[in-house]
Amino acid sequence: MTADTIAARRARPLRRLPFGTRVLFTPVAIAVVLVALYAWVSTLELDSIEQRSLNRAVIVAKTIEHLEMTLAATALVVVIAIPLGVAASRATNRLIAPVILTVGNLGQAVPCIGLLVLCTFLMGVGFQTALVGLVAYAVLPVLRNTMVGVQQVDPALIEAARGMGMTRGQILRRVELKLAVPAILAGLRTALVLTVGVATLGAFVAAGGFGELIINGLKLNRMPVTIVGGVLTACIAFFIDWLGGLAEDLLKPRGM
């Protein structure tokens, strides 16, 4: 998934629907799918292998692992990418911007599974490896959106702020960053959805998460386990995308 593609979903078609419908549609759909999944699994006669994967303790543990991986990676991305993006947008660093854009576009071509496995050679299997891979993959869209977001602020507004006697720090905090919020949030949302997806691959490097259900089900030839893992991953991705959409609506500065 490239950043451009997902970012473009900001032009959400559902926006035309009434606010309540738009906000409630996704969670209701997810709930329906989860109930259907539960009902379907409870009609099956699970053998001992399936029971070992499909019980409450395992599902809860995998959910927590998956969310931990996603949230930790996103938090690191915020800490790394936003300051870097702001720094790259400063006039003194103008030369860096095209470099970042080029590296960013090329970096998208590196397959995430390849990146994860290469990280494993450097630091062994486990949670930290997955985290490094996830962060490396998700930093670029946020970095790029932050940079572009800050750069595209109308120079006249900055000039006006300077005329009002603001210092450079004040201009950055109270004008440029505020106006860049929509672009930064869009990048973050993209990164979150990317991370949820790539976190399924974390299971390949023994970092847990829903990917483990998918992989185990496939290896042991127990399709129900794989299907539960797949559906849960998809549901969590939709849910996080929905949360990101809400955050975009709520955090957008008033007047924009």
């Binding site: 998934m1 490239t2 078609p13 397959p111 290469l118 494993t120 990917g211 496939l218 559906v231 998809a234």
Partner: protein, 217 residues
């Protein structure tokens, strides 16, 4: 064995895997282009249909690729079938969106002029609207292609073709001889394929853009 020795000694396997990788992406893109441009052409004038088609293709893209590919196994089995179907589904959003944007962004006066010259609707579409929207449509196809090249690596897990197999081979023999070489070969090979496809699209774009559109700021 050094990396270069590995690549030379496994050249047959690697080049076949690379060819299959490019092949499966190309086929998926071809199918997605035909369907996506078709959907875009049919729905760009109808707000509801247009929004629905973009919403559905955006929803597909939200599904993590490992999940989608494995969920297809009960339907299309392991191997080429699931790979092709999954990849095609992922390719829709950029193509449909750019087709719709391209067709809607046309200068109304130009389309009106075409109509005034007595072109029928199909001819208007083929000779005026699509050629003018083509650069944007092609960009959509290019974005989809870049995306699919990466996703196709994961398809190796559902027994799909391509260089992803090298990566998974490296993973499964972690620490043994050549495991790093296999992973590197798979990853770098995919990056090279992505660059080659990009060059291809650059050339196609240059050759197929209507002359009047080429000189643009």
């Amino acid at each position: 064995m050094s990396f270069s020795e590995y690549v030379i000694s496994r050249w047959d396997t690697l080049s076949l895997a690379a060819a299959e990788h490019a092949m499966v992406v190309a086929v998926a893109i071809a199918i997605a282009t035909v369907i996506g441009v078709g959907v875009g052409v049919l729905t760009h004038g109808v707000p509801r249909a247009r929004e629905a088609s973009i919403a559905v293709s955006a929803a597909i893209l939200t599904i993590p690729s490992l999940a989608l590919l494995t969920l297809l196994i009960p339907l299309t089995g392991l191997g080429w079938g699931s790979t092709l179907l999954g990849l095609t589904a992922y390719a829709f959003l950029p193509i449909i969106r750019n087709t719709v944007t391209g067709l809607r962004g046309l200068d109304a006066a130009t389309v009106e002029a075409g109509r005034g010259m007595g072109l029928s609707r199909p001819r208007l579409l083929l000779r005026v609207q699509l050629p003018l929207a083509w650069p944007l449509i092609l960009t959509g196809i290019r974005i989809s292609t870049q995306m699919l090249i990466g996703i196709a690596a994961i398809a190796a897990f559902v027994d799909g073709p391509g260089l992803g197999n090298q990566i998974f081979e490296g993973l499964s023999r972690l620490g043994s001889v050549n495991s790093l070489n296999a992973t590197l070969a798979g990853t770098l090979g995919i990056v090279i394929i992505a660059i080659l496809f990009d060059v291809f699209f650059y050339v196609v774009r240059h050759l197929t853009t209507p002359r009047g559109l080429r000189v643009r700021p």
